[in-house]
């Protein structure tokens, strides 16, 4: 089916109807070290309360892998086509597919003098990032990479459409997708409807909850009234996330997504038009048993295409071209953006403040 917004090189930003600006994030997968700092930053900030123990609004999974919740890529949801007229049916994952919050033998070790190793008491059969670093491929050509995921604050959020009570909505000012806790009656159609499984059901509060793009931080509601990017971005040691507005034509996000087309949405075929984009991972080419380099992709192109859609070839080629340009002593704005360490450029959140 056609995704006619994409194949035009004339850049045209598709911000959802009625939305003034769209917040967006670009994550450079080549920099992710899988340290889970982002996961914990998010967890401690938002999901430590009763009923949300199992929730990871931000999670980092190893690809190839079953992900979190297990098998989410095959759980349905999203739209049947780019016309967004008919939704794709989806499923509510089982608790076991998310994993349960494990209990550890802390008390035995710390207070009762046990010299057992620290480990979960029981029921540790699956959990977020269970298949960490397993990846795929055979020695010496095995491969994997880390995929951090948050809610994509999609341009056509099927979670919003799925809710018969309009409890989910897309904020006018920045396109952030939120669950109105007053309106939610725990029906879980949003959980079924999101193909990324980024809405969660809290069995204690009986309501759905999801990533809020740290909106109080970007609104400057902190103690010093300053604006901050989402915690997952600010806390990331290698600083691989760029945060700003998709429609900020001077910003790095616009350039990476719209101009150079090297930042790609995850599973574009779900047709929700995510606003989290990824610089696809590079890996050295394959080796023979005796260490000789052969001209074969280590991470199969097909696999990357499955994840990031048809734009993958062009994106990888463009980045390669710019790399070579730098190697030859040339200049590249694209490479500069990808290597920028200036937070003021990485996080452009105040450009549309009208004061």
């Amino acid at each position: 089916m056609s995704t006619d917004q994409q194949d035009d090189s004339d850049t045209q930003i598709d911000v959802a109807e009625g939305i003034d600006h769209q917040v967006a994030m670009v994550m450079d997968l080549n920099k992710c070290i899988g340290c889970q700092t982002c996961t914990i930053a998010c967890k401690t900030l938002w999901t430590e309360d009763g009923g949300s123990e199992y929730m990871y609004w931000n999670n980092v999974e190893t690809k190839p892998g079953a992900g979190y919740p297990r098998g989410w890529e095959d759980s349905g949801g999203g739209w049947q086509s780019g016309e967004h007229s008919e939704r794709q049916p989806g499923e509510i994952p089982d608790q076991e597919d998310y994993g349960r919050a494990w209990e550890f033998n802390h008390s035995e070790i710390m207070y009762e003098g046990s010299d057992e190793p620290l480990r979960p008491r029981e029921g540790a059969e699956w959990g977020p990032n269970w298949d960490e670093d397993e990846g795929a491929g055979e020695y010496p050509n095995s491969y994997y990479f880390y995929l951090p995921r948050i809610c994509n604050h999609c341009t056509h959020p099927s979670c919003v459409e799925a809710c018969p009570r309009s409890a989910l909505y897309k904020r006018e000012e920045d396109g952030i997708v939120l669950v109105d806790q007053e309106r939610c009656r725990g029906y879980r159609y949003c959980v079924e409807g999101c193909p990324y499984k980024k809405v969660y059901y809290n069995t204690v509060s009986k309501k759905s909850e999801k990533c809020i793009f740290c909106y109080p931080r970007i609104e400057g509601e902190g103690p010093d009234g300053q604006t901050y990017a989402p915690a997952c971005a600010e806390e990331c040691p290698p600083q691989l996330r760029l945060v700003g507005f998709l429609d900020d034509e001077q910003g790095p996000i616009y350039k990476l997504v719209e101009e150079y087309e090297v930042a790609l949405p995850l599973h574009p075929e779900f047709q929700t038009q995510p606003n989290v984009y990824y610089i696809p991972p590079f890996a050295p080419p394959q080796h023979t048993e005796d260490g000789e380099t052969v001209d074969v992709d280590r991470i199969p192109r097909q696999y990357l295409e499955q994840l990031f859609g048809e734009g993958i070839d062009q994106a990888l080629d463009t980045i390669e071209r710019h790399r070579q340009r730098i190697e030859r002593g040339g200049e590249s704005e694209l490479m500069e953006i990808l290597q920028d360490k200036n937070p003021a450029k990485q996080y452009r959140l105040e450009v549309f403040d009208d004061g």
Binding site: I92, P93, D94, Q95, Y98, P164, G186, Y201
Partner: protein, 280 residues
């Protein structure tokens, strides 16, 4: 045609007999009251608040047919409960509504992502002078809903169209429930109790001059029923006064009348047949 006559008489007699049986059997069910009327009793005191109170034995009952609600949610037409057994009684101060339905699975406490609760609801117009759209009322014609779910208990809701349901902060209605039996006979019994005089905006006035419209909904949690995926009735009504109290008595009268009519017809027919026979 000498053989024809006896056979004609036989047919007549059989017909008449069938008619008598039909009249006496069918009348109590079919004609005791207008369709969609849910009779209620006038009772003393408040002994009916318990679902198992003996007092309920003497209260007239109706089997209300349910069908899948028209709704845009996925699987809206996949519902399981087809009938709800309704009884209503009114004391000087309160209205009691008892609902019973079969549900082989008791779904209580949705403590996992995929579990849903059993639930039941009674819907009234906020403004009793007009009948609102059946599906959760309309914007200008709202409904007041008494909702009970096995997990969260009782809520009083206001709705002005599908998806607009809002809970009252202070419900005026309370409910008690029991689940008994097993297998196909397992039954939920829920009794709602509300003071006739319960003030508050957007709350149905139960002490109304005319008939009081009422509708019902049931959700089976184990079939993932929730929101618009539910079994619902059409609008029914509680009559303005308990004019049809004691349908057994009324039905008996109807039966007697029916039998009398049939007897007259029978005698007449027999007489006519005999007269004809005599003439030939």
């Amino acid at each position: 045609m000498g053989e024809g006559r006896p056979s004609r008489v036989t047919v007549s007699v059989v017909c008449i007999a069938a008619l008598v049986v039909l009249t006496s059997v069918a009348t109590p069910f079919a004609s005791a009251r207008p369709a969609h009327e849910i009779p209620f009793s006038e009772v003393q005191g408040s002994g009916l608040a318990s679902p198992t109170a003996d007092g309920w034995d003497g209260v007239p009952s109706s089997d209300v047919a349910l069908g899948s609600a028209p709704s845009s949610v996925p699987n809206a037409d996949d519902t399981t409960v087809e009938t709800v057994h309704v009884q209503a009684a009114r004391s000087d101060e309160r209205l009691f509504v008892r609902l019973q339905w079969h549900d082989a699975t008791r779904d209580v406490g949705a403590d996992s992502m995929r579990r849903f609760n059993d639930a039941v609801a009674v819907q009234f117009p906020v403004n009793t002078s007009a009948r609102p759209p059946i599906a959760m009322g309309g914007q200008r014609n709202m409904v007041n809903v008494w909702y009970w779910s096995s997990d969260t208990g009782t809520q009083e809701l206001l709705a002005g169209g599908p998806g607009s349901t809002t809970a009252f902060p202070d419900p005026a209605v309370s409910a008690n429930a029991t689940y008994h039996g097993s297998g196909a006979n397992a039954t939920w019994t829920v009794v709602y109790v509300r003071d006739l005089e319960a003030a508050g905006e957007n709350r149905t006035t139960l002490e109304t001059e005319g008939d009081l419209d009422v509708a019902f909904a049931v959700w089976n949690g184990s079939n993932a029923e929730r929101a618009g995926q539910k079994s619902v009735s059409e609008w029914h009504y509680f009559p303005s006064e308990s004019r049809s109290a004691g349908p057994p008595f009324e039905a008996l009268l109807w039966s007697v009348a029916g039998v009398a009519v049939v007897a007259v017809v029978a005698v007449t027919a027999f007489g006519v047949a005999r007269a004809r026979g005599g003439m030939q």
